[in-house]
Symmetry: C2
Subunit: 319 residues, 2 copies
């Protein structure tokens, strides 16, 4: 993995993947007591950075590939479905039958075939292997894949260029972290394009496997698989490819509470006028509420696919 | 008024005014049955296009001007306050004492002195004239002012360039309309930079003074002064400067219901992940729900300063 793979992914994206804006607001800075710049990946096509990795992986497949297969209950599903449709390629997405109806509907709306399974009685990996073999589908993993990491890393190229244009010489860069695909891709991009910037992963409290893995030097596992409102970034362990990249290129990992993530979500509504999902808001939460950060912080808001009822409840609570 | 004034305003803005993105979403197009591109001025600094006109007018004042005065209960107040503070200039904003607390607080947070008055017992214009004379302040009107129109017109320059980059040759351009500052500025810009595009103003039903003025050829007045959720764009009559520009450069005016504006607001939440206010959503509502529009429509979402409780209620109703 190196910067060349990221630049190549960016070239393959053309205008199909949006350069998202780097937003800021004086009144948000006042709340935080520091300057905050927000890389708004919630404004990416499909509503999250996952379209980058999906596009990168799909566009790197050999000619003649019959189609792609992905397993996801959310943003990765939509990113892969979007990319496959644009490449005229079949997409089969394995989703648990109890995934949110809106995410199933959106994935279908992008043209994918959704195969529902029962988490309690069926083994997802066995099902995936069978489908892939039967239909000649290429599996697109959510993070532990070089082309997926390269695709997410294009976010980092844009951060480096936009920060330079805004006159930002040095900053901490905070990134929401599940398996580490986005964090490791951005870390690689910044190491080459903005080496003065220091990256920190941000996870929900109780699900900070990456932070503990970076601190201890070996892969750690979360005690629980669910129980945070930040559903998009609850992965059990760091990726096999992503952890070594972050061990080399990232600082210590941070964690925030669900309450802080929800408060960040409502402050993004009020001062930046973007819709963020809870898991996508954890880096902004750290930028707002964490101690020991420098005067200038860049954070990624990684997605905005949020249930309207949850969003409404958070707004009403903050009033 | 000509394109030169708009280009000059853009030059004076530098990086203080953001080039907002032109957003689109395949799933939103499916709802509409046509291609929709959204110029997201809700992502502008201060949360609306008003920062453009405020900046343009303040930056055009002669050196040595003591400060500026504006009358507004909302977005114009914040735009002028932001621009004045950045120019190291005093700003006095006359606001009704019963204006939303959050808008008063935000205007103060940008550094302006807010003077509250009683709509029932005090005459706003008399008060403004006295304050301006006593303190040597320059009045910045909300729309009927050449430099304000030129500033709002910079939105049109960006639309022309972004549409060309997206390969859009011909389109209708729909713009939320109160007094007509944004519409007339964009109309002037497009006449020079994208003459194949046709502009339509969009107003709330019952407050379509501009549409009726354009249809009849003479200024018309609204029967009521309030009674729509689209508070930001309820002006009694077209501007003296703005109407002739639109009579020359715009097509027929459109109108949408409050319910359509609120539905557009919730669809922008779901598919574009931006926060729009009701008045800022009327052009998107027309793009989604109006008949007799072409296959490709560009609409401006003009602002995103919306009360959280109102936004939450709209989301819950749409669920």
């Amino acid at each position: 993995m190196n910067i060349g793979a990221i630049r190549a992914a960016r070239t393959r994206m053309g205008s199909a993947i949006r350069q998202t804006p780097l937003l800021n607001a004086p009144l948000l800075d006042r709340v935080a007591g520091r300057r905050i710049f927000v890389k708004a990946e919630c404004l990416q096509v499909t509503g999250s950075f996952k379209a980058r990795g999906g596009w990168s992986a799909v566009s790197a497949l050999p000619p003649g590939t019959a189609g792609v297969l992905a397993m996801s209950s959310g943003n990765h599903a939509q990113g892969v479905a979007y990319a496959a449709a644009a490449h005229g390629m079949a997409a089969v997405i394995l989703m648990p039958f109890d995934a949110p109806e809106v995410k199933i509907a959106n994935t279908r709306a992008y043209g994918a075939e959704v195969v529902l399974y029962d988490r309690a009685t069926e083994d997802r990996d066995t099902l995936a292997a069978r489908l892939a073999a039967e239909r000649g589908l290429a599996l697109i993993p959510p993070y532990d894949h070089p082309e997926v990491i390269a695709g997410q890393g294009t976010t980092g190229l844009e951060i480096a260029a936009q920060a330079a244009a805004a006159g930002i010489d040095t900053a901490d860069v905070l990134v929401p972290c599940g398996g580490g695909g986005l964090s490791s891709g951005i870390a690689l991009a910044l190491a080459a394009a903005a080496p003065a910037f220091r990256l920190h992963t941000v996870e929900p409290e109780g699900f900070d496997d990456m932070a503990r893995s970076l601190a201890s030097g070996s892969p750690q596992r979360n005690a629980r698989a669910s129980g945070s409102v930040c559903d998009a970034i609850l992965t059990p362990t760091p990726g096999r490819l992503t952890l070594p990249i972050l061990a080399t290129h990232a600082g210590r990992g941070l964690a925030v509470s669900d309450d802080q993530a929800l408060r960040a979500m409502t402050l993004a509504f009020r001062y930046l006028r973007v819709v963020a999902e809870p898991g996508g808001s954890v880096a902004l939460a750290a930028a707002l509420f964490a101690e020991d950060l420098p005067d200038t912080v860049i954070c990624v808001v990684s997605g905005g696919n949020v249930d309207p009822a949850l969003f409404a409840a958070a707004l009403e609570r903050s009033d």
